[in-house]
Symmetry: none
Amino acid sequence: MKLYLAQTAAERFLNLPEEKQERILTVASEAFGQKGYAGASINAIVNRLGIAKGSLFQYFGTKDGLFRFVFNHALHKVKDYLRDVRDATTSSDLSTRLTETFLAGARFIRKHPLIYKLYLQLLTDDSIPFRNDMLLSLRQYSLEYIRSLLEDARDRGELGAHVDMDKAAFMLDAVMDRFLQAQAVPHMDAGLGLFDGDMNIVVSWIEDMVVMIQKGLKKT
Amino acid sequence: MKLYLAQTAAERFLNLPEEKQERILTVASEAFGQKGYAGASINAIVNRLGIAKGSLFQYFGTKDGLFRFVFNHALHKVKDYLRDVRDATTSSDLSTRLTETFLAGARFIRKHPLIYKLYLQLLTDDSIPFRNDMLLSLRQYSLEYIRSLLEDARDRGELGAHVDMDKAAFMLDAVMDRFLQAQAVPHMDAGLGLFDGDMNIVVSWIEDMVVMIQKGLKKT
Amino acid sequence: MKLYLAQTAAERFLNLPEEKQERILTVASEAFGQKGYAGASINAIVNRLGIAKGSLFQYFGTKDGLFRFVFNHALHKVKDYLRDVRDATTSSDLSTRLTETFLAGARFIRKHPLIYKLYLQLLTDDSIPFRNDMLLSLRQYSLEYIRSLLEDARDRGELGAHVDMDKAAFMLDAVMDRFLQAQAVPHMDAGLGLFDGDMNIVVSWIEDMVVMIQKGLKKT
Amino acid sequence: MKLYLAQTAAERFLNLPEEKQERILTVASEAFGQKGYAGASINAIVNRLGIAKGSLFQYFGTKDGLFRFVFNHALHKVKDYLRDVRDATTSSDLSTRLTETFLAGARFIRKHPLIYKLYLQLLTDDSIPFRNDMLLSLRQYSLEYIRSLLEDARDRGELGAHVDMDKAAFMLDAVMDRFLQAQAVPHMDAGLGLFDGDMNIVVSWIEDMVVMIQKGLKKT
DNA sequence: GATGAATGAGATTTCATTCAT
DNA sequence: AATGAATGAAATCTCATTCAT
């Protein structure tokens, strides 16, 4: 397990019983996810946790430190989750793998809605420390993940050699991310209720995109 | 010009010379766009403006009032802009109209990056007063705008009667919004530089979507 | 009257009624003089003053700003005082002028003990912001003051041309400063009570130094 | 070696390997010397030492206890040093002995600058616990040291019986202390650089003082 | 005897808001 | 209508100290 902070500070946190660690990260990511970086209050967090203010600062040093730890922790969770999905579907075709990935993402967001909110915070708040670094690394990870699925498909002959991998990956990433966004943010469906039940619509849409990419997305 | 606020308060603002009004709204939307609702500071805003703190409170009553005014003002700007685009392209085909709309959006964001940031704030920050109302009305407006383009196309015979208008509008709205997002937020292209020059890729993608909708998006 | 601070901040303070200004500076210099820079508490200061915490920060911006203002204000007071002494004694001989200066200093310290304590703080506390600048400028002022008395004396023929002005000024400054120190810090006389009544001893000692300088302090 | 503390607590410290004791005292006196009593942080001290916070409290009980131990330890060091100087110069004349004493003091300060800073802290900070006691005892020791040199000189016939011993000791103490102060505090020479190289000037000044005392300092 | 997690009071500083002028 | 001084609650963060392990 990597350390996301100056060792002296994060070490202390990692020495706590796992249960307590989990509780702290949950409450903190709730706070950040709901109120944003600036709006979240350390006071409120410790009150909710029932621990002393000083303790939190011993664990993470600063508010920045807490946010970064929370965010990185969430990121690891997502990565682990995605890795599992990829490994469990190696034998399926591209369409299925992408669909499974999307459904897994949707399930993850439904289970951990605040982690996605955390990511949205990152999009909007310039003042989040190291925002640009975090954002870039996150998008690159996502992109590379999808790209790896595409390359597998190409190697297997599912996708023609003419397809521009970068663009294809970007398009899929963009669109799938947007559908995920609609899971986490209320009213994004403008009250139509498109995402409440099953995901049939989105799934068929993804399948169509794969066809389009195969047929039409040539290198420039 | 409509009033977005309890009259007594906003009246004072609307009596100011337009130039001053503009300056105040610009600085305020910069602040909210960059730092978020909670992170923006009235103190900083009035310092930057060089006006008295008390004046701002006389114009807008509270921080909430200021934010809502700024946001509604921005929304009106966008709507005006879009209406112009629609009116200027009534004779074109659907593909062209959508493309023009997207390009107009991209131009608008490039010219007023902070207004889009303001919208992103709305996505993430639960604590923004009347957030849900504002978000819903915004998405509905966007959806209806696209729907009106689609319906025009159907009435003209460009689109078959079998096409599910709601879904089609939603899909187009979602995807186009995502591409716009990439204009406003750095690193969303993961460093690939897809959006730096012309919009050829995005434009051809939109055209492909229209074809897909026409061919395949049946009602369920 | 000069401004000692970023204008925006100090201006607010200078707009206050003089009476209130005086009270604030008095209480603050008491606090700093008694407890040192780090030991003094803004909380305690505002409680003693009966004003709001925020007000003090509006006047001075930071604790640093307050300290520097207080110190500079005190310095100005001392300079004004010394200038008066110099001007009032232009026709006297060197010995008398130095003696008068010392006595004036002693009176000043007795009247404003905390200002001298403030200067002592400067000697000891590395962490005082701009300490070095303040200390250097203070010692240079003191030195130049004494030097100007010496040069007047030389011009009048009281002191030979052979006397090293720099050294003479430094010696007199050092010794007189030390005697002043003994006024402000208890127990510096180790309980002998040398300074309680009149200053005869010190005065005769200063006269002897002038003789020594005239007779023996040659340039090297 | 005497105990400066309630036995129970200090015993633990004195049982440590001398090397560790030394390291702790050094780091602590650095902290107090540089930042003052209030400004020094136990947290910072233990971090620098790499020991547990609890340990320091077991050794010294409180911050006060630590400061007093550090100060008394330093005082002992100085006394030992001075005693050596006195014993090594019994056969010299008064002027030489005083000069040697001053030079030893200057060497000591150069070697242990923070110990002198510690003494300066005592001058200024009313809130240091037992400050008055410590200050009085220190000045008395210094005074008695010089007095003993003077009395030796009188007994040897170097100094007339008419000389007021108390005053003479006080004057010498005051002036020499001031020159020492200039060693420890930067800018006390107002940038003239009088103390950088050898101490010729100060030494000759001390010799002159002895002459003055012998000739002129009568009892009153 | 050493450790370092836990504590909560208190530090400095910022904030939105009020209101007399 | 405009000002900006006054406010005090709440923000982040540091501190000396305690105590179970």
